[in-house]
Every structure is written in structure tokens, then in C-alpha cells.
């Protein structure tokens, strides 16, 4: 059985859901899933993989690429998977280039045909899906969208081994000087399973405090439309859309957002979409599972009371 190497990133020490979904998919395709982890407890990943390589390299952009390349060599992996995070896609792209291969990101479907991967992925902002065949020899590089594949059930933990990628420090040309949390100090939209987003329909910047209370109540991140970011109400790190973040949470709730193309492009992969907008003809209702044609400014306080937030 061939190995599939999965780059497993972590958020606050916990493995990212998309990476576990990738491990599950690899197994479902008939590969032996091998996880490459760094900076987290490998035991958290072991129940989802046959083998866990707990790498000794530092959290450094070039080191991630070199470790990935070394792990591919070590395992002889035919398939290399990872999450569609900013850092994951970046590392996978460079590693793929080093291997003389393309990287196909944003996979929402992944199958094998004649032994080689067939990927289905959104393009043009999700307006169409493209079917891509990876040709040529292995290894093949694919980054998977969160929420596209089922979360695997934990099973008997695979073998954990320390992995030294053999990085020569003199080959690292970049130096990481500092890391800072995003300005908001809240759960980042890119990490969240649940996102509540506000738009101009909230009327004024101060009303976002209602949204923040709802986010706290639901354990959600707060998202923002481009309009309110450009108006200076919210930080750009919260922006969902074409020029902001692409998110794929399980639940996406939008208050006072019109749902223009550039916004929908950033969240159409969400599981359940709920839209509250006082305009019953708002475009967003065409992309929603549940809709409420009512003024978000009136709904939010009533909703908070109903949910027991007071």
C-alpha cells in the first residue's frame, strides 16, 4: 500500500480539522496515511494516521518546506495532502515545485482514476467547478478544503516517531523576527467552525457589539463584509470575500450583508448558511439555506435574549 503524506498544521496546539479530514480521505482512497506534525503533541494526531512523523524543525516558512520534502523522501509518499491555509498552501506549493509537480488546491472532491488523483475544485470564485487530473508520475500534491471531506473516526493510534528532516540551518535565508496575533484578539475567521458576519445593514459600527455577544454565545468568530472593513468599522483580518478571507465553516450566519458576488466567493463552501437582511430581494438569500427578511438591528437583541444571553 502506498503512503500518503499529510501536512498536519495546528491551531493553538490542536490539529486543524481539515488536516484530519485529509488523513481520513487518504485512508478512504486506499493509502496508508502518514502525518507530518510540528509544534504539537503527536498523540493528538495518532488516532487518525498509521504513522506520525513528529518533526524536530522550527516553525519557520523555509523549514516547513524542507521538512515536507524530506518527509516525502523518507516515506516515498505517492500522494501529498495538506490544508488550504495560507501557510499550508504556501509550503505545499514550494515543495511541489521542488519536486517538479503542480499543486492543486481547494479540492472539494478527490478520487483516484487509473491510480492517479482526480480533483474537483472551485474556480472563478466558486462559480464553476473544474475537474483536474494529475498526470505524470507520483508524488502528487493536493490541498483540501475544510468541510469537504468527512471527519474520520479516531481508531487505534498509529506509530509516533521523532523525525529529523536534516535541515542545514545555513540554507535558511529568511529569519522570523516576530509573530503577532491579529488585531481583534478574537477567534480568527480562518480558524472558526462557526462564523457570524456583519455588514452595512447593522447600521453603525457600535452595533457590532451585539454581533460579538452572539459570537461569544455561539463560540463563533466575527466576520465582516468588505463594506464595513472599508468604512473602518472592522479590521481587514475579519473580512470574508474575494479580497479578504475564504472560509468554510460548518455554520455561517450573516446579518445585514447584501451578498454580492465578491462576498459569496469567500464563503460559499460553508455548511449551513443563514441570512438575515431587511431586504427580501437581497442577493444573499439565493445562497442561503435559511433566510429571515427582517432588520438585523432589531433581530439581534431579540435573538440574544432568546438564546439566553440577556
Amino acid at each position: 500500500m502506498s503512503a500518503a503524506l499529510v501536512l498536519v498544521e495546528h491551531a493553538g496546539g490542536r490539529p486543524r480539522r481539515a488536516c484530519l479530514e485529509a488523513l481520513g480521505k487518504a485512508r478512504a482512497l486506499g493509502f496508508s496515511p502518514v502525518a507530518l506534525v510540528q509544534g504539537m503533541d503527536p498523540a493528538l494526531v495518532a488516532p487518525y494516521a498509521d504513522r506520525v512523523l513528529a518533526s524536530t524543525h522550527d516553525d519557520h516558512p523555509e523549514a516547513h518546506v524542507l521538512a515536507l520534502r524530506a518527509a516525502i523522501d523518507r516515506t516515498g509518499a505517492a500522494l501529498v495532502l495538506g490544508p488550504c491555509t495560507l501557510t499550508g498552501r504556501d509550503a505545499l506549493a514550494r515543495a511541489a515545485a521542488a519536486a517538479g509537480r503542480s499543486l492543486v488546491p481547494d479540492a472539494v472532491r478527490l478520487d483516484l482514476e487509473d491510480g492517479a488523483p482526480r480533483v474537483v475544485r472551485p474556480v472563478h470564485g466558486g462559480k464553476v467547478l473544474a475537474r483536474i487530473a494529475l498526470t505524470g508520475d507520483a508524488p502528487w500534491f493536493v490541498a483540501v478544503r475544510g468541510n469537504a471531506f468527512p471527519a474520520p473516526d479516531p481508531a487505534d493510534p498509529g506509530a509516533v516517531e521523532e523525525f529529523d528532516p536534516g535541515i542545514d540551518p545555513s540554507t535558511l535565508l529568511l529569519k522570523v523576527v516576530e509573530r503577532r496575533q491579529a488585531a481583534t484578539g478574537r477567534i480568527p475567521v480562518t480558524e472558526a467552525d462557526i462564523i457570524v458576519t456583519g455588514g452595512r445593514g447593522l447600521g453603525e459600527s457600535a452595533n457590532f457589539s451585539l454581533l460579538e455577544r452572539l459570537a461569544d454565545r455561539l463560540g463563533a468568530a466575527v466576520g465582516a463584509s468588505r463594506a464595513v472593513v472599508d468604512a473602518g468599522w472592522r479590521d481587514v483580518s475579519e473580512q470574508v470575500g474575494k479580497s479578504g478571507n475564504t472560509v468554510a465553516p460548518r455554520l455561517y450566519v450573516a446579518f445585514g450583508v447584501a451578498g454580492a458576488v465578491h462576498h459569496v466567493m469567500g464563503m460559499d463552501g460553508a455548511g449551513t448558511v443563514v441570512v438575515v437582511n431587511k431586504d427580501e430581494n437581497a442577493l444573499f438569500f439565493q445562497h442561503a439555506d435559511h433566510g429571515l427578511a427582517a432588520d438585523a438591528i432589531e433581530v439581534l437583541p431579540a435573538l440574544l435574549e432568546e438564546l439566553g444571553d440577556g
Binding site: D279, N281, L283, Q286
Partner: protein, 383 residues
């Protein structure tokens, strides 16, 4: 026969469209709702050099041809109709005679800053008792030594309330009718020149429009803009052709924007189980619109080309303007019908296109006058 824009023209159009999308489109609703002149946008457009499109390089212009200018006007009209009015009055009318007949001193003092967006100009034809009937002009210009004394009141002047330099049509000889007309430059600050009441309009909001009052305003000789007096009608014809093509292309843009907006609505609005875009009577509206739109647009660019070739095209300009404006008035009406009840709401854009389109009837002669004239020409066998 080349019925295509070339690569340079297509690229130019794409860049103007991008500029309009980026700078003007986000402000369209606000300009309409507040009915305030967006001076910051004006200055920004000026700093980008667009006001100088038609003017000599010596004064900061680009010496672009008519077709290129019309591409600019067509794309500009996709944004705010009011702002479009102010800009086109500046570019096609308010600075035209200054550029053509003004002395170097006048060009330095007025034209150059106007091209840079630092001065605002306008043109004054209309009066209380005369619109299409230019011979009815009651504003007089009387010789006094080397100077001229101007007296009269001009109405419905776009940019009037904020103007720095106005090109005023006046008669030097009321008994000579159409042969007594001339153009004069009147500048803000001249004694006797005052801004009168402002007009509140149905549409093209954001383009300040009002009365200009001339009470024995004394202007020096070089403020007569023309080779000799009495040729005002002849000079008017030159810009009227361009004004008509420009107005016609504005009509095309307003119609296209209104119908594109309505199309978006029609695709999403579900009635009786399917999007209304699937119903024949809704589709017919788009089909009929597109036919007339293409016809009008083709005609308009043909006239622009004729102007560049130096060909006589007075009738064609009138006809193309008429065709495009009638097409637009129908399209903005249809757009509100596609919106059904929502077409009556101020929340949607359909109402703004509907209101803005009415200005098309006011520039360059009423449609009744135009079509009467053209009919007469046809009957005389001279079309």
C-alpha cells in the same frame, strides 16, 4: 469599412471603465441622495488629466479625437448621471470656445486651471423664453468703446451655481435674429455677474443647476469668443453635433446600466415557482432593448466618426440622439416594470435611472423640434 474599435480604443475604454468603477461608482447613490457637488471627485478626475482630453497639448490637453472622447463620455455616464453632466459641460461646452477662440492670456488664466480641475466652467444658452428657439435670445451684448456690456438672465445652467468662468451666448443685434448671436466669456468676480436661484431637479442630482444673472457686466474685447460677431449659430452647430452624440451615448449607458441591474433582479426573483427571467414577457423586454441599444450605439459612433472625418452630419447627430434617448426612456421604464412593486421603491437603483433619464429630453433641442426638422428634411429630399 471598419466597424470595430481598435486595440488602443478598447484598452482606453477598459481603463476609463476601471477608473469610473473605482472612483465614481461607490459614490453614485450618495451623490444622488445628497444632491451635493462632489468636489473631491472633480479634483481627482482633473488631476488624472481627463478634462484635457480634447484640448491642445500646450495647455495640458491630449488632443484626442471625437471617437476617443466619446468612449470616455460613454463610460463616464455609467456612473453618476449628475457628475457626468458637470464633467461634460466642462469638457464639451464650458471650455470649448475658450480653447478655440480665447487669447493666450485667457487660456492661461481660465483654460489651463479648468483642464487641471481647479476651475469650473459652464455654457449659457437657455433663457426663460428661449430654449430650442435660439433666435429668442434676449441677453444683449452692447459695444462700449473696446468693451462689451452684457445684460440678461440665463436659466437651467449646469454648473452655474459653482462656476468660475461662463461662456454666455448673447445677441449683438436683436433684429438680426439667428445672425446676431455671439459668445462671450464672463468670469466670477466681474461686477454685475451674479448667481441667481438654484433649480431642484428630478434627476442628475449632484450637478448644481441654476440661474446666472448679468446686470450690465462689462467685459474686455478679448472676452468675445469668436472670429467675428454674429457667427454664434454657426459655432454652436459645431459643438451641438458633439453634444448630441455625447447625450446619445449617455442615453445608451444609462439604459444599459438600468437593464443590467434589472437583469440581475430578474435572474433571482422567483414568482410562481421560477425566476421571472424565464418568462417570455420579461425576456421580450430585454430582447427589444438590446436591438435598439445596438442600433443607437452603432449610429452614434458612426456620427462620431463623421465628425472626425470633417463630414457634415447635423441631421445624423440629431437623429442618433433622438433614437438613443427614446430607446433609453423606454428602457428605464421597462426596468422599473421588471422590478414590479419594487420599481416604485427608492431603495433600488431602478428609480434613479428612471429619473436621470429625463434629462435626455432637455439637451440639444426638444425631441418635437428635432423630429419635426428631420421629417421636413426627408420630405424635401435632402436627408
Amino acid at each position: 469599412m471598419q466597424f470595430r474599435f481598435d486595440e488602443e480604443q478598447e484598452f482606453f475604454r477598459s481603463q476609463v471603465r476601471d477608473t469610473v468603477d473605482r472612483l465614481i461608482r461607490p459614490r453614485v447613490r450618495e451623490i444622488d441622495e445628497k444632491d451635493e457637488f462632489p468636489r473631491d471627485l472633480w479634483e481627482e478626475l482633473g488631476s488624472l488629466g481627463y478634462f484635457g482630453l480634447r484640448h491642445e497639448e500646450r495647455w495640458g490637453g491630449m488632443e484626442a479625437d471625437t471617437v476617443t472622447s466619446m468612449i470616455f463620455f460613454e463610460e463616464l455616464a455609467r456612473g453618476s448621471a449628475g457628475f457626468f453632466m458637470s464633467v461634460t459641460v466642462q469638457m464639451l461646452m464650458g471650455t470649448y470656445f475658450i480653447g478655440r477662440f480665447g487669447s493666450d492670456a485667457i487660456k492661461e488664466r481660465v483654460l489651463q486651471p479648468a483642464i487641471e480641475g481647479r476651475k469650473i466652467t459652464c455654457i449659457c444658452f437657455t433663457e426663460d423664453q428661449s430654449g430650442s428657439d435660439l433666435a429668442g435670445c434676449r441677453t444683449t451684448a452692447t459695444r462700449d468703446g473696446d468693451d462689451w456690456i452684457l445684460t440678461g438672465t440665463k436659466q437651467w445652467i449646469t454648473n452655474g451655481p459653482i462656476v468660475d468662468a461662463a461662456t454666455v451666448m448673447a445677441t449683438t443685434d436683436p433684429s438680426a435674429g439667428l445672425r446676431g448671436l455671439s459668445f462671450f466669456l464672463v468670469e466670477e468676480g466681474m461686477e454685475g455677474f451674479a448667481k441667481g436661484q438654484r433649480f431642484h431637479k428630478l434627476g442628475t442630482k449632484g450637478a448644481p443647476t441654476g440661474e446666472l444673472v448679468l446686470d450690465h457686466v462689462r467685459v474686455p474685447a478679448d472676452h468675445h469668443l469668436g472670429e467675428e460677431t454674429g457667427r454664434g449659430l454657426e459655432y454652436s452647430t459645431d459643438i451641438l453635433n458633439q453634444v448630441r452624440v455625447m447625450t446619445g451615448l449617455a442615453a445608451c449607458s444609462i439604459a444599459d446600466e438600468a437593464m443590467k441591474d434589472a437583469a440581475g433582479f430578474a435572474r433571482g426573483r422567483v414568482a410562481f415557482g421560477k425566476p421571472i427571467a424565464k418568462y417570455q414577457l420579461i425576456r421580450e423586454k430585454f430582447g427589444r432593448f438590446w436591438v435598439k441599444y445596438e442600433a443607437a450605439r452603432t449610429f452614434l459612433y458612426r456620427v462620431a466618426w463623421m465628425i472626425d472625418q470633417g463630414m457634415e452630419c447635423r441631421k445624423e447627430a440629431m437623429a442618433a440622439k433622438w433614437l438613443a434617448s427614446e430607446m433609453c426612456l423606454e428602457a428605464v421604464d421597462e426596468a422599473t416594470r421588471i422590478y414590479a412593486g419594487n420599481g416604485f421603491s427608492m431603495e433600488y437603483d431602478a428609480q434613479r435611472y428612471f429619473r436621470d433619464a429625463r434629462f435626455l429630453l432637455s439637451g440639444g433641442g426638444t425631441h418635437e423640434v428635432l423630429v419635426n426638422f428631420l421629417g421636413g428634411q426627408y420630405l424635401r429630399g435632402v436627408t
